[in-house]
Amino acid sequence: MAGADGDDSLYPIAVLIDELRNEDVQLRLNSIKKLSTIALALGVERTRTELLPFLTDTIYDEDEVLLALAEQLGNFTMLVGGPEYVHCLLPPLESLATVEETVVRDKAVESLRKISQEHSPVDLEVHFEPLVKRLASGDWFTSRTSACGLFSVCYPRVSSTVKAEIRQHFRTLCSDDTPMVRRAAASKLGEFAKVLEPEYVKSDIISLFTALASDEQDSVRLLAVEACVSIATLLPQEDLETLVMPTLRQAAEDKSWRVRYMVADKFSELQKAVGSEITKNDLVPAFQNLLKDCEAEVRAAAANKVKEFCENLPEDNREQIIMTHILPCVKELVSDTNQHVKSALASVIMGLSTILGKDNTIEHLLPLFLAQLKDECPEVRLNIISNLDCVNEVIGIRQLSQSLLPAIVELAEDAKWRVRLAIIEYMPLLAGQLGVEFFDEKLNTLCMAWLIDHVYAIREAATCNLMKLVEKFGAEWAQNTIVPKVLGMANDPNYLHRMTTLFCINALSEACGQEITTKQMLPVVLKMSNDQVANVRFNVAKSLQKIGPVLDSNALQTEVKPVLEKLATDSDMDVKYFAQEAISVLALA
């Protein structure tokens, strides 16, 4: 039968190719996705001589099919006979790298990058590098765009003459006529700089970087900011001031908010790359400006970086810089007109307390926390609450509790269920920090109220919350405070509330332990097996299955088994199903 190299009679290429040509796109797509199977059937030789030429010649298809093809070819090395023949894959991938659709092209480039590693240095120069050159000098912008992503993978492994050519091509593309190509080049500038020899970083990359950073299109300039991080890390400290900083300063004050946004967004990376001296002299004032920018987008991006920026300041005068330069800006942001800015700040501001220490936190930060806890926007309040642990370490949460409580209560009753859901998720954390007494006094009612929320997701989260609370405060606390309330709901006229009892029992039984489960919970569950609503009954079956392992065998045999057997003969199909399932899982049959 099929030999190592495929079998003509069984799998004539015509049949296979028919599949790849099927009129129905979906079928064609399926066939392309299984291209490796076809190749396997054909064997390496015929894959090289028949299949690949066919694919190369007939590439005109829907982008979806092309995308699948581009992806497949990246994993085809073994199917064409290993690294020795890997260059056979270049022609179809070259065509795919010139396609209009970005996702196809990107995938083709990704595959090319992958198989470039499988080329020997000789093949790289003979086959791969010429392809890169062809793409780089293509007529239509798509091929030149694709070329940008290929320079860095072949550069390290070719001879110095070829290297010089590659650098020249990259230079040309950086000043290409179309902004699309310049954008592609700018986005690969950092990556390319990393593989260049240090002398060329200085002689080539810096001038390209400067040019791209002052491009007429802001979409190009902002990509240069990204490259700035990589370039700065490659240069010795003494060169940064003259080679990089003028451009970076200019970017931080660019007339386009998109560029300034990018600077704000990359600020921590930039800060690390340029080092502490430049940070002190240049970045601190730049950061202040970004925090005061006229566009909210920029302020929000900068606000997000406040904590990281402060953390990475040189320790010797960190506190002084924060107190005199950063904190005044932060104070203003607390009452910003834009809620995204405030909410970005609220997500990091608590982190400052660890950096500034107890006294400063109480004197300067606490008023800000309190102000944000009273903010009109729920997201701001939530972000403060979700980061309480940072403050807790420094000054303890008690300082905040007076303001915290109204904020929590208000969020707990917010009209938007997602807000309620978010605050529930912080309950265990809050409970841990506020302590059991405070909790019982102020928050317990809230936690119980959520159990009868009209949104299922809230009831579900409330159930899970109870379990976490019990894990924190222990079984005895559970027995005294929540179990009675939960079990009381079993008699509620609303079947959804009755089911909540069951869900709570499922969640709590393990944490509460055998005694509470057997003595208090089990009787309630068993009683509910007579409920008139089938949903409740089959959830009884599910609950019994769930709490079974916590019970002792006596209770299982004498109490659980008869009830399950009864449910297994219920008139409702689902009740029967779950009862039977429980019987078999608990091995009661």
Binding site: L40, T102, F141, M180, E216, W257, K416, W417, V455
Partner: protein
Amino acid sequence: MMGDRPSPPRAMSSAPTTSPSVDKVDGFSRKSVRKAKQKRSQSSSQFRSQGKPIELTPLPLLKDVPGVEQPELFLKKLQQCCTVFDFMDTLSDLKMKEYKRSTLNELVDYVTVSRGYLTEQAYPEVVKMVSQNIFRTLPPSDSNEFDPEEDEPTLEASWPHLQLVYEFFIRFLESQEFQPSIAKKYIDQKFVLQLLELFDSEDPRERDYLKTVLHRIYGKFLGLRAFIRKQINNIFLRFVYETEHFNGVAELLEILGSIINGFALPLKAEHKQFLVKVLIPLHTVRSLSLFHAQLAYCIVQFLEKDPTLTEPVIRGLLKFWPKTCSQKEVMFLGELEEILDVIEPTQFVKIQEPLFKQISRCVSSPHFQVAERALYYWNNEYIMSLIEENSSVILPIMFSSLYRISKEHWNPAIVALVYNVLKAFMEMNSTLFDELTATYKSDRQREKKKEKEREELWKKLEDLELKRGLRSDGIIPT
């Protein structure tokens, strides 16, 4: 599993099971409803407050000074109007804002009626004043998911001045005394590039003025035409392949519509490339409905110029035919009808097979609007005549879909339309129609058999893969 059944009262998990992330808004109300509560937003990135009040020294009216002094005063007024005010602060510089407004008004009137005012020195000053006022980085969109179909656009706050500046500039460009040969020193590529970027403005009033401005510039500056076309290309390509966001696509297409109209024959390769590589891919964009009318107009313009482009255009549309968006599919069908309205019979023959395969798919779409739109083709006399001439090719392609829908489509209106179409076919070519009816069943069976063979082939191939995989861990033995 059977746990979550929909029948009441068991719909226990009727609750939203969305990710726990906190959303700004409850996701249930329609966006337009939510938005309605907010007031119309205004924005401007025009100005960074300098904090100081602005003082302009009032100048006499142009009509109040002797004619010889007017050019000089005109320049002074232009210079004053370079001052830009902060309109986000509604209370600042009220008096000076009013002064600038009245000065701009005066300038508008002046360039419209006066003669002999346009000295050579005036050109750079006019361009400078216009640039200072209109060129700016557009502010970020108010909501990052701005949906032009549903959301109110953010209006430019400085419009009271901006409008007059645009008005003035258009009058200037249209003035009888305007000399492009002098102006081209100042209205250059860089100027045009910045002008084009403004088309992304969310404010429809501004885009409307920009459209006129660009149109005038294209008309008067021959040297800039190729550049303008190239830059519009770049904007479109970026829009299609990178961002899917640009507010001024419809306006730019409208200008292009009239540009295409003026193309000389035979069409240059550049123009054909623009059609195939830019205009056709524009059909893939999600927000197609916002500029589809203008786009279809451009396409039809091209085909009226050069009918040989019909085949690549229709093939392009077929390639990008919407797969999931029925609204877009209806738009495509509308455009295709516009194309068929002007198609030459010789071109029709070249493209009829792939074209009617697609139409046959549309006709059997479960979405009745798609099916209906496609079936309306049979009400078009010209299309009917083309179908009739080629019924021996088209009827076999269409038959099985039509036959099937006539039996199974859920919508009675569609079934009725299909009966009419079948009747029309029967009248056109009754012999072929009878043949197809007779072989319908056996054809279906043959298809099924083929389907089965395919499945078997793949099964065999998979077995083989499995066998080889076991033998050598996925790597082919040598």
